[in-house]
Structure formats: C-alpha cells, structure tokens
Amino acid sequence: MAMAAARRALLTHLRVPVARPAAAAAAGTVPVAARRLLSSTTEETKGSFLDKGEVADRVVSVVKNFQKVEPAKVTPTAHFQKDLGLDSLDTVEVVMAFEEEFGFEIPDNEAEKIDSIKSAVDFIASHPQAK
C-alpha cells in the first residue's frame, strides 16, 4: 500500500520530455519516420517506381550491350540461357549490369531468380529504389 501510494505520488510528478530530432521539429509536428510512413501511400512514393515500358527498354539495351549477346536475338521475352545462350556466370554478370544501370543492389536471393528479360523487368519495375 505504502509502495503504491509512493509510486502514484511519484508518477503524478514525473514528466518525461518528448525527445524530437531537430530536423523534425523544424519541419513540423510529425516526426520524420512517421511522415515517411504516412507518405508511403501518396503520389510522391508511387512516382519512385519506374514506368514498366522504360524499364523494359533499358533492360533490353543493357543486354544488347553485353558482349556475348547477339543484339538481334534480344527480345522482351528472351530467356538468358535458352534464347541468348548465356551460362550461369554470364547471368550473374548481366544482373550486375542491371544493378549499375538502375543504381541499386539486387540481393543474392532475388538475383538468382532473374533468368530472363521479363523476370528482370518485373523485378526492377516493382522495386522502389530503382532509378
């Protein structure tokens, strides 16, 4: 009882200041992290996904520039190994070239799944960090 009373007395007087980063305080009342969360559904972030047609064009041109590929064979549906005659080491190189073209890193487990122009386009177009 005495403990509870002491605790209540203490809690009524205890005030914890709300820490807020200087940047957030300057920008407004909503903290940065929360604003980023809120804006994930707004136009601003949607705009960071690249247009699929543009991604397809750039993917095709990266593959056409790959030295072991015959440019004429590169179509939007081409499979790296079956249609373009690339082996698994070549495929690693091509995926690395996509990383450089689009300015973001593709994790190993995702990179393993990219085996055709189409799968590359689908992955890159659904990736918000692709530039």
Partner: protein, 88 residues
C-alpha cells in the same frame, strides 16, 4: 548446364562467390577493376570447363580458397590482384 533449371547448393555458392568478387571489384579504381574482373572471370570459366562437376572435394577446396582471396581483396589497402602462371 542450360538444360538444368535448378541449381545445386554448391553451384549457388560458386555464383555467390563470383558475385562477391564482381561487387568488390567495383570498389577499386576503374583500371584495376577491369583487371580484377578479367582475372576473376577467366579463373571461374577455366574451372567451370576443366573441373569435373562431381569432384565436390576439389570444388569445395576452390570455394574455400576463393572466399579467403575475396576477404583479402575486400581490404581497401589491397588495390589489385595478380596471378602467376606456373608451367604445367
């Protein structure tokens, strides 16, 4: 190889190692990067052609050696790598 869509665990390890080398090469000077890429690529292709795919013991040895070399290459003080051709 093209007829086998699914890669085995050891093949994935080889490809991951290859990717690791290419990623690390990006961090070096452009000229050194090209050198590293050509040496590494030649080494992997040579082994892919010449090592029996069932020779797991040897492939695992190559993987271990490759990982060790990659760790060394990641050191920013290391700017390049060289190979020594020993006559067979």
């Amino acid at each position: 190889m093209a007829s086998r869509p699914k890669l085995s665990g050891i093949q994935k390890q080889v490809l991951t190692l290859y990717r690791g080398f290419l990623r690390t090469a990006r961090l070096k000077d452009p000229e050194e990067r090209r050198r590293i890429e050509s040496v590494v690529s030649a080494e992997f292709r040579d082994n892919a052609r010449n090592v029996d795919r069932r020779n797991f013991v040897y492939i695992e040895y190559l993987l271990r050696r490759g990982k060790r070399q990659l760790e060394q290459l990641k050191n920013p003080d290391i700017t390049g790598l060289a190979t020594l051709e020993v006559k067979k």
